[in-house]
Amino acid sequence: MIIELRETPYDPYAELGAFTRRRADLAGKAGANAVFVGTMRDFNEGDTVEGMFLEHYPGMTEKELERLCTECSEGAGVLELLVLHRVGHVEPGEHIVLVSVWSVHRAEAFRVCRDVMEELKHRAPFWKRENLGERQRWVEKNTPG
């Protein structure tokens, strides 16, 4: 299980490519890989968003991500799980979150990937402050899963 916070932009597909090359042992074992990539949009709730600051709780954020990933994958036959999440200043089009789950069959990978995203949205200590140009706005709540 790999959980990382990133302070700079990353390419989720390059990360996945690099990871699967490093973990070539998974190739013939993991029949399924379910992935979610969350990307910053340039609009939200009808407004143009110019940028965003992603605040987190250093220490707790990492621990909570670990806890929720462990809970979501418990007993599900997960072979590997990777979570990357941006913090700090984020520009539209930059990637915020990457969740990737490898398992033998597809049902587990799909379910765990989805569960991790929902738990992350509800529990992981991150807060978005949007820059709308003339003003800043804290995002009050997430869109429903």
Binding site: Y57, E64, H85, K121, R123, F126, W127, W138, E140, K141
Partner: protein, 75 residues
Amino acid sequence: MSVTVRFFASLREQVGAGQLDIETPAANARELWSQATALPLDPHVRVAINQAYADVDAPIADGDEVAFFPPVTGG
């Protein structure tokens, strides 16, 4: 006893502080909030004790790190 109180995101801005190290007789996070801020405690505020979610009425102890923050919006 002494505890570290932390506020995040919009709460940090409302309270006007990110971190306070205070001496307190507070038995739980709710009492701590009243001592540390002049604001009402919104029922949506979430509490963490030593970097794990906790009930606002759970007991706190000397040396604890008690955090208050709004609903999370990551991902």
